[in-house]
């Protein structure tokens, strides 16, 4: 590309303490891959007091352009890790999506029609800015030893860990890890070295992905077209990013010549039709085909796969990095609990179970969207086109249109949850992240429920006329009383949690609800706590 973008952050290789002696160093946790997912895992573990070695084969961020949409749940996680507000300030907040057929608007949707959440439904932000923010944050931790230009070239599984060979500009060294987190991306070296198969589907259609720099007053919305006049017969997607950068995805069909299609003249000819009369500069162009697939298991002894190394989806629905970041948050507290002796060994198995449920849901959604966008045969296309033809006239057909169902966190069906014995209405669900709600602190300042959580196990108790003064949560659980420590600012906590005086909610360190009762019973709370720790 002649008109390549210039934003690249470089980092220096440094010889590490583990390259010095003859003995092989042993570290409790080694994370391979400093992409968004590996960085999240390292920061979350360090924040929980676990020392981490983080290896990456590159020494820079921002060569390519990939993810742009970051979901509310991801932002809540990144907020707990200390970068959420920075990202929201830097990003473009949006929540309205529009779908067109030809040049006609079929419908628009609002992704977060509900008030009272700290984080927006989505922001758009170049993935390299997100990675930069995470690297900055990682560098604040003494517990994170981030090593650039460290490429893993071999891995041997040990009974109680894994032995790595790492190549560096100073030559190779060996390193043992009690636990190895493979966050080394879609072409995972570790997956290959362990000989693990990836099963799923590859879509034949090629897509042109272009980032252009242009001053335009297009709305801050996700706009998706089926067969617009500016790109005949195929689909198109347009998204706004910060810095006057726009992302345009154009479906090219299975027969497109990937090399010829990246020629700037050819790209410009296509983009002119979309963007004229606007003047624009090409920042980045690439041709992609997409996969929806996953490993059969994410946990292989002491080697644990997260992010694109474990699963891949097409980008329609923004589930790739968003779900990988959710893998990391799911794993981090569990691994920390196992390492400090609080969690049972089966806790790691629950990572496999819960995140495979999430991967299957994401793969299901992404596969269905991609099927809708690029039907497999003439007969399937005819049905798809029938939906589009009916859409202006019938609501049911509009609801069948699938240009990407946007990423929502999976509600886990999990042995970590204690089944409800009492009846609850509201939007809070066992196995799901807590719905957010606006609250007021003791000092009168405003806050939100999710940001007020401690990051460990927490019991949220709904005040009951002074009884709470005598309550004491079991060891290892922080007690927060709504009505004392926090006030329900607008009654939204009460309605979202179906809260009545005396109700208690047990929250996991990853902000998921794992038990709730209409009353405070210390023995039941202790049992639910042990269950969530698989002890």
């Amino acid at each position: 590309m002649s008109e390549a973008r210039k934003t690249i952050y470089r980092y220096d290789y440094r010889r590490s303490r583990d390259q010095k002696g003859a003995a092989v160093a042993r570290r409790p946790v080694v994370v391979v891959g400093a992409g968004p997912v590996g960085l999240t895992a390292a920061i979350d573990l360090a924040q929980r007091g676990v020392p981490v070695v983080l290896l990456d084969d590159a020494d820079r961020i921002g060569e390519g352009s990939r993810g742009i949409c970051w979901s509310k749940r991801t932002l809540e996680i990144l907020d707990r890790l200390g970068v959420g507000e920075r990202l929201v300030r830097r990003g473009v907040t949006w929540k309205v999506g529009k779908v067109f057929s030809g040049d006609e608007l079929l419908f628009s949707f609002d992704l977060l029609p509900e008030a009272g959440h700290k984080m927006p439904a989505f922001i758009n932000l170049q993935q390299y800015y997100l990675e930069k923010a995470l690297v900055d944050r990682a560098l604040e931790f003494e517990l994170i030893d981030l090593r650039w230009k460290n490429r893993v070239v071999s891995v041997d599984q040990l009974n109680d860990g894994a032995r790595l060979t790492v190549e560096t500009p100073d030559g190779p060294y060996r390193l043992d890890a009690n636990w190895l987190i493979a966050a080394d991306g879609a072409r995972s070296t570790i997956r290959g070295l362990l000989g693990l198969e990836f099963s799923g589907v590859t879509f034949e259609d090629k897509f042109l992905i272009a980032d252009v720099h242009m001053a335009a007053d297009f709305p801050t919305e996700r706009r998706f077209w089926f067969a617009p006049s500016f790109h005949s017969g195929q689909s198109a997607l347009m998204h706004r990013q910060p810095d006057d950068v726009w992302r345009i995805d154009l479906q090219l069909g299975p027969d497109a010549d990937a090399r010829a299609e990246q020629e700037p003249d050819r790209v410009r000819a296509r983009l002119d039709k979309v963007l004229k009369p606007h003047v624009y500069e090409l920042e980045w162009v690439s041709i992609y085909t997409f996969n929806c697939r996953r490993l059969d298991r994410f946990v292989h002894g002491r080697v644990i796969f997260v992010g694109d190394a474990a699963h891949q989806v097409s980008p329609f629905g923004a589930r790739g990095a968003n779900s990988g970041i959710q893998d990391s948050e799911n794993l981090a507290w569990k691994l920390a609990a196992v390492l400090n002796g609080e969690g049972g060994a089966a806790l790691i198995e629950s990572y496999d179970l819960e995140r495979i449920q999430a991967a299957d849901e994401n793969i299901g959604h992404s596969t269905r969207s991609t099927d809708f966008m690029s039907p497999h045969s003439g007969a399937e296309r005819r049905l798809r086109d029938a939906v589009l033809a009916l859409a202006p006239k019938a609501e049911f057909a509009r609801r069948m249109i699938n240009s990407g169902r946007l990423s929502l966190p999976k509600v886990y069906d999990t042995p970590l949850s204690t089944p409800d014995e009492d009846v609850f209405a509201g939007t809070a669900k066992l196995g799901a992240p807590l719905p957010d709600a606006p609250l007021i602190r003791r000092d009168g300042t405003e806050t939100h429920l999710v940001e007020s959580l401690s990051g460990g196990f927490e019991l949220i108790y709904v005040g009951d006329a002074g009884r709470e003064a005598r309550l004491c949560a079991p060891h290892g659980i922080k007690l927060t009383v709504v009505g004392e420590d926090l006030q329900d600012r607008e009654g939204l906590f009460a309605s979202r949690f179906d809260a009545t005086p005396g109700t208690a909610y047990l929250v996991r360190p990853d902000q998921h609800l794992c038990a709730r009762w209409r009353g405070f019973n210390a023995a039941a709370i202790a049992r639910a706590h042990m269950r969530a720790l698989q002890r």
């Binding site: 005819r382 049905l383 029938a386 033809a389 009916l390 049911f396 057909a397 069948m400």
Partner: protein
């Protein structure tokens, strides 16, 4: 428990069949296939029951030569 009704429900089945025939009279093969797709979607939504739809799909498959 099957829920798909296969017993005749139209008081005048000939009239119902005629309506379907007339809808495709003078259409080309492609136009008829496109029309049928729209009609299937409308009727499927009207039924609004995935179980019934799946039974109907199974019956249609078993009666045809495509499989």
């Amino acid at each position: 428990m099957p829920k798909l009704v296969t017993a005749s429900r139209f008081s005048d089945p000939d009239a119902a069949y005629l309506a379907l025939v007339q809808a495709r009279r003078n259409l080309t093969e492609t136009q008829a296939a496109e029309f049928d797709s729209r009609l299937v979607l409308i009727l499927a939504n009207h039924i609004g029951d995935l179980g019934v739809l799946q039974e109907a799909i199974a019956l249609a498959k078993s009666a045809g030569q495509e499989n």
